[in-house]
Symmetry: C2
Subunit: 707 residues, 2 copies
């Protein structure tokens, strides 16, 4: 009886192709191989059960054995799908926005389904695969325990009414992973239009959104926007660089340009992003009620908002952890970073004296060595700090994913900013050595770009290729398949072994312990723990590529933006380098999304979130820095020969005016373009009118019955 | 037949008391005395008509003739009321929030009326008078033309389907005014608990809100909060002033205190104001859809949002008016203000040289004369500018009241700030004369306070007293009434003649033309145009009190806040003076609200709106100013004897850190207290759950019918 559900699944499989279920598989759920059978049966029955009975009403089947079934393959992999009707009602539940026949974006409802633009016939192609997968993820996430006190067969995995089953299984290690499947056909088409063709064109943002969801598409949109925004700066930079190479002092115009540029592009991005989000239907979509994150723990109590039973953790305790442990730790790290910076300057001085004593070509090369070493050390420190920050933020035990994210981003940004830019600030404002500033900036920029490209694109590609070949070889050993496509079972297992790309607000912590261990011991299998062969390449790549996600991608852009907006006036080629980097970044990111990582669940983001804030903070710092650089320039100093005080006072006054102007500009430029504002207002007006009409009808009904 | 509706009203009056209608009159509508009878009949029928037919379904009757009926009394005054049932359904329409039995605040619905705390029996006392009046105002405002092309009898007053009838009548001068009646009993009780008792206590904010609505109550709450916030500063100021009188240099501590104080109190006010707004049910109440303001004009077209016919005015034209006319005008005014400031400094220098030549007691007194003259001139300039700003903003032809308000507030604030503080900034940072700064600050503060108190409280009181006495004399001439209370007809006419107090987003423009004329010719009847006797006092008071409203009250507080936060470190008694001023301000404002002005319609405000922003901008300026004052102080200078550059750089660095800290603090302190956040989240959660349940039920119904 326990095996009933499973048996049924197997029987169905048997009646069809040996590896294909009778529905379109969308999401894969992998349970630990030592999960008790009664637990599996219970989980499957809950997933299959009708919604009235508190089930998810989804279709689920066990994945057939792969070619390596007799080996140590995990048998507990399940494919989840749903009927078309279920997906449509799910779309209504998650509040999906779709385009209507009149061109406006509205929340989808089954009752009005025929008013929507792409709804044809039964609506088979109405929802795209990413949306279906998002819906299934949501349905699984909101599958709640009824009166079970624990998972059958696992008495240590406690449950209480209302607890999300999937999250509990996840936090207790029974659920190893849950991920959406790639759509091979669509992926091929996407990758062709995205990075495989050579001709210069915009990225296919709508297709990216179609396949990966809004969060990913917004990242690529931002990357592209940022690149284009840099083009004028690069265009100005090249002749500047070519003709004024030795005249370090003519940077005032460039600094002024920088000032205006960094304010304007961020304001315009907000409007552009609002247009994209409106077109994709996420702009006015309501956020779902946020559940506690899987890692959150506490004593069981009642949530004051929902009234549900759930773990509670006193806020005061969390604050203590934040202010008494995390904050001192961050400050200590900043101090350490400063200390290392000082060592770098000592090295720099030592090399310089060496070069001055006996200048040869080799000592000239040697001049760059300290900067390169420092750049590498900075990258390594950023990485180590990143793990420490994740660990600490996890330990702070935030209830909501958003709160966790904010604390993590704040920690990481402060340190990375300090670590990357402290030396430049020191050179610019304490040493006031513009030649060294230029040299340092160039070395830092180029080194970190090379490191990043290598770690992000080349290495993962090489690893993935090895694995693919191995898998194909394995399959070919068994059967003599002519077609290049793998059978479903192999394909699923191949994807299950891919690295996870973390999108937006999805947990960053799931890989944390594994990665932390890897970082410390540095001698474990790199990309997946189920690979057999130990790569010798482990030594080369200190796990840079492990927990990648949008966070890392945005962080990289943030630092590049910093290099350009803060100091590029002293090194006009910076913008050119960043443009080049971004162009390759588009290709390498596209490649890694399509070929290296598991497909991520789509993230219905309406904007780039906390990163908008981070970039704006950077642009404020850029204004201050550029004003100071202008004030220090010889041309400006020439006007104030008699009094340095006057110079400083004027610089400060102008800087204050610019800051005030920036804030006024932020107020004046509306965040959402006018035509979208009108559309949003029209929707709101319509819903208000509908409500009024409904109430009026009810009132007249009431008065009629009273008569 | 035209007089049918009116005749009915008269008959009803006749059957009861000669001056009382058979319903509780709530709102008075005054039409021009030359309105055509068919127009009146049409308006009344539209107001009385059922909602299904597009009417307002309100009760309305003509006011009986007063004692001076044979004189030039306007007969077209109408009393409007409503049945209890109509008021309750109106409360639902306007989205009133009320306290439920479980202590939460929810939008009132007739269906759930018995879940609300104060709903007893038929709900007679559920809505207070201010709420009922607000509902009636809303219903009248949303009374729309059907297929009439013009108002019957007035072919020049064009109408089109969907146009608000009341607004059209108002803009064409047929509707003279519409105002809510005072509740004599409640007013007596309120004024007793508010300003008539001598013992020190908090203001009865809940009662004020009960009688005047949330906007007014928030103003008085802010006034009280601001006063209490000043107390610690005043307490520090007194000993400081007493013991360090001649030691102008010890102001560093005070400046540091100022810095922290102005940031903290604004943050805390936001939280306090959110608590008040939650308790009063305006925090989560949705804003109604904003209609074009009555003064807005343009060519008839279709509103892109509502699809209704309405006047449209090209935005580009408005922008041209703003940037090509208003902006240069404001700049010109600022220049003029600077020019006058320079004249003041010349006078000051002249008086000083006079005093130095031959110092006597009288020349000592003379020393204060320029400051006093300058203070008076500042007040007069502010006033003239105010009218010019209203005129210009009106001419800019903004579509929405909120947009009009923002432009007006911006214009007025910039000029007032400049006008009041430019001389102080000049003295502090250009002349660096702390003695003169102190003297100027004291004179400005004291003079403007005396002027304000006189204009705001004493004069209106005196005028109102005269009028009341006259009215009572008139009534007593006719009948030999023993009781002090006036009959309804007299009371209504008395209130109709009172000045109008403008609340929040209500139009400031209605009195504009009248006032502008008065300002220019200066020799017209002051308080109301229907008064017979020309006051000789006109010469004394250049119409300060005419268009008063919350705008003026907040503006006064804003300037006081400026005096205290910017420069009070040089004159520690400033805080004491402002506290004293505020205490009398509470009493005079309370008095003028209760006795001098018409009752205003309540304004369901959730916060102090644009003023919060204005005060925060001031606090940023205060940080910059205080840092500069600290940097200039001799104690600090003593640390940097060798290098002035170092001193300035340190000052600037610390100032930047403080500004950054202020912004971080603004992010860190949540605007809404935790316990209210939880309550709001609970409401949202419940509505989401209810929606989900409803959808689930519908789905199961559907599946049942399909089976």
């Amino acid at each position: 009886m326990d095996r009933g559900a499973l048996g049924e699944g197997k029987m169905l499989q048997g009646s069809l192709d040996s590896s294909g279920p009778r529905f379109t598989p969308l999401v894969v759920v992998e349970l630990a191989s030592d999960t008790k059978e009664e637990a599996i049966a219970w989980i499957l029955s809950r997933i299959r059960d009708q919604q009235q009975n508190g089930g998810a009403e989804l279709l689920v089947e066990q994945l057939g054995p792969g070619v390596g079934a007799q080996e140590k393959e995990n048998p507990n992999m399940f494919l989840v799908g749903a009927t078309r009707q279920r997906l449509l009602s799910g779309a209504e539940e998650v509040g999906l926005f779709k385009e209507c026949n009149d061109g406006s974006m509205r929340g989808f409802t089954c009752a009005n389904k025929h008013n929507f633009k792409d709804f044809e016939g039964d609506g088979d192609s109405f929802l795209n695969m990413a949306e279906c997968q998002y819906i299934i993820k949501h349905e699984l996430d909101t599958l709640r325990a009824k009166d079970e006190t624990h998972v059958p067969g696992h008495t240590q995995v406690k449950l209480y009414p209302g607890k999300s089953i999937i999250r509990r299984l996840q936090s207790k290690g029974i659920l190893i992973q849950i991920f959406p499947l790639h759509g091979q056909e669509e992926l091929k088409r996407l990758s062709f239009s995205w990075y495989k063709k050579v001709k210069l064109s915009f990225q296919p943002l709508d297709n990216i959104r179609h396949y990966y969801g809004e969060g990913q598409a917004l990242y690529f949109g931002f990357l592209e926007y940022f690149t284009f925004a840099l083009v004028p700066m690069a265009l100005i930079g090249v002749p500047y660089y070519l003709f004024d190479w030795e005249d370090y002092d003519k940077y005032v115009i460039f600094a002024v340009f920088n000032l205006v540029w960094c304010t304007v592009i961020l304001e315009l991005w907000k409007r552009f992003s609002a247009s994209l989000a409106y077109r994709w239907g996420t702009l006015s979509r309501k956020k779902a009620f946020e559940e506690p994150r899987p890692g959150f723990h506490g004593t069981l109590g009642f949530n004051p908002v929902t009234g549900r039973k759930e773990p509670l953790y006193p806020n005061a305790k969390r604050q203590l952890r934040v202010y008494l442990v995390s904050l001192p730790f961050v400050l200590l790290c900043l101090y350490l970073s400063l200390y290392i910076m000082m060592i770098y300057f000592q090295m720099e001085g030592w090399v310089l004296s060496f070069h001055d004593e006996e200048p040869t070509f080799w000592t000239g090369i040697l001049m760059f060595i300290p900067s390169i070493i420092y750049a590498v050390v900075i990258e390594i420190m950023n990485l180590i700090y990143r793990y420490a920050a994740e660990f600490l933020t996890e330990w702070e035990n935030h209830r909501l994913e958003s709160s966790y994210q904010n604390h993590l981003v704040l920690k990481v940004l402060v340190f990375n900013f300090f670590n990357c830019f402290a030396s430049l600030f020191y050179i610019a404002f304490v040493m006031q050595d513009m030649v060294l500033l230029r040299q340092s900036l160039a070395t830092l920029l180029i080194t970190s770009q090379i490191l990043n490209q290598f770690m992000e694109a080349f290495l993962p590609y090489w690893l993935q290729r090895r694995r693919n070949k191995k898998m194909i070889r394995k399959v070919q050993k068994r059967r003599t398949v002519e077609e290049k496509e793998l059978p479903l079972a192999e394909q699923v297992r191949l994807e299950a072994d891919m690295s996870t790309y973390l999108v937006g607000t999805q947990g960053l912590d799931s890989d944390l312990d594994k990665n932390f261990a890897i970082m410390i011991f540095g001698f474990t299998n790199l990309v997946n723990t189920q690979e057999e062969i130990m790569f010798p390449s482990v030594w080369l790549c200190p796990c840079f590529i492990l927990s990648q996600g949008t966070f890392d991608d945005y962080l990289e852009l943030f630092l590049l933006f910093g290099y350009v907006s803060l100091f590029s006036c002293t090194y006009p080629l910076a913008a050119v380098l960043v443009v080049l980097n971004n162009v390759t970044e588009v290709y390498s990111d596209a490649f890694k999304m399509c070929r290296v990582f598991k497909r991520p669940f789509s993230d219905p983001a309406a904007n780039i979130g906390v990163w908008q804030l981070a970039f704006e903070a950077m642009s404020v710092i850029a204004i201050v820095t550029n004003c100071a650089l202008i004030g220090m320039s010889p041309q400006v100093k020439a006007y104030f020969t008699e009094s340095e005080t006057q110079l400083i006072l004027w610089t400060v006054a102008i800087e204050h005016m610019l800051l005030a102007f920036k804030f006024i500009l932020t107020f004046l430029i509306p965040d959402v373009p006018k035509h979208i504002q009108i559309k949003l207002a029209r929707l709101e007006f319509e819903s208000l009118e509908a409500l009024k009409k409904k109430k009026m009808l009810e009132a007249s009904d009431l008065s009629k019955t009273m008569e």
